[in-house]
């Protein structure tokens, strides 16, 4: 299977509560919280599309869209 390529991180700012789980457990440190405690993808070029942020988000607020999806 081809390596998944990132299209975008779809972040629902209304649903994100800034718990920081995705930021902490991202293996490539792609994500950070902004000054409003909402998640943003600051280093999308480093994303390996493992989707652990999406799977662990308690608020269903982040989705990793790949070219294959």
């Amino acid at each position: 299977m081809a390596k998944p390529r990132l299209k975008q991180h779809l972040i629902n700012r209304d649903w994100c509560k800034g718990c920081g789980i995705c930021v902490h457990f991202c293996p490539r440190k792609v994500l950070e919280l902004d000054d409003q405690d909402k998640v943003v993808a600051v280093r999308p070029q480093d994303c390996i599309c493992c989707k652990l942020c999406e799977l662990r988000c308690p608020d269903l607020a982040i989705e990793v869209q790949t070219e294959q999806d």
Binding site: L10, D14, W15, K17, G18, C19, G20, I21, H24, F25, L52, L55, R56, C57, P58, D59, L60, A61, E63, D69
Partner: protein, 267 residues
């Protein structure tokens, strides 16, 4: 979102606190159901009272939000009348094992085909952080300011002893394994119990100085181990996760159908 079809988006963002493990259980459950390709009209979710039980409101299945501890009793009623439906019964630790303890053990004994998901956060979150039967000796709670002296239940041992034919434990940290275990539990024909260790950063975490939800998830990573691992032999205090029991027994609805047929023949 791929799982968006299964949720009631109009009720989001949900009521749970930032970092609540119950949200991760919701996430894992959605992945399991999506992977199985279940139709939402074929699923009935029955819940009781508590933080955990709010999950039924967010999912676009047939949902019943019933009374405290009695979710299993309502679920048995639904299953008996419509055995072809898939029953999911999410409960909190207090809901399942304190208020609903009796319903829980007898549902295990009957082996009726449904999946009980015990979202174990070791506290009564909704009512302000009282200790639950899963809090355990030495923990702090609003109602145990000088530490709790009650011993805790072991959900896996209790469900096994009561006769459940599928018993498993997962954690909110190990979300992929949680989804796999939930899928296996839903597929199992009989009464399935899945304990999911779910952090409550607001009450359990704060009262017991466990830090942020990130620290609590890290703790789930370091204090648990796969079932039968070598690490468990070296460190017996580790909590095992995985499928503990999976066995075949006569299923209640199928047996009841035989009774109906026998009665129709008049003997």
């Amino acid at each position: 979102m791929a799982v968006g079809n299964y949720i009631r988006e109009r009720f989001f963002p949900h009521i749970w606190c930032p970092g609540c493990g119950h949200g991760i259980v919701l996430n894992g459950l959605l992945r399991a159901i999506e992977n199985m390709g279940l139709k939402k009209n074929d699923i009935v979710m029955v819940s009781g009272i508590g933080c955990s039980s709010r999950i039924a409101g967010y999912l676009d299945f047939h949902t019943l939000h019933t009374i405290h501890g009695r979710a299993l009793a309502f679920a048995v009623g639904v299953k008996m009348s419509r055995p072809e439906l898939t029953l999911l019964v999410p409960m909190g630790d207090g809901d399942a094992l304190s208020i609903g303890g009796n319903h829980f053990i007898h549902a295990c004994r009957r082996n009726i085909d449904m999946t009980a998901i015990v979202m174990n956060n070791r506290i009564y979150g909704m009512t302000g952080g009282q200790y639950s039967p899963l809090s355990g000796y030495g923990t702090m709670a609003t109602t145990a300011p000088y530490t709790n002296i009650d011993q805790e239940f072991d959900i896996v041992n209790m469900a096994t002893a009561a006769g459940a034919t599928f018993v498993a434990r997962a954690t909110a940290y190990h979300v992929l394994q949680m989804a796999e275990v939930l899928e296996a539990a839903i597929r199992h024909k009989g009464f399935s119990v899945v304990e999911v260790m779910s952090p409550c950063p607001t009450y359990f975490g704060r009262k017991n100085k466990e830090g942020s939800v990130v620290d609590m998830l890290e703790k789930l990573k370091t204090t648990t181990t796969p079932l039968g691992s070598k690490a468990k032999q070296e460190n017996p205090s580790l909590i095992e996760r995985g499928v503990f029991v999976k066995k075949e027994m006569p299923e209640y609805c199928a047996e009841y159908q035989k009774i109906i047929e026998r009665a129709m023949k008049g003997k």
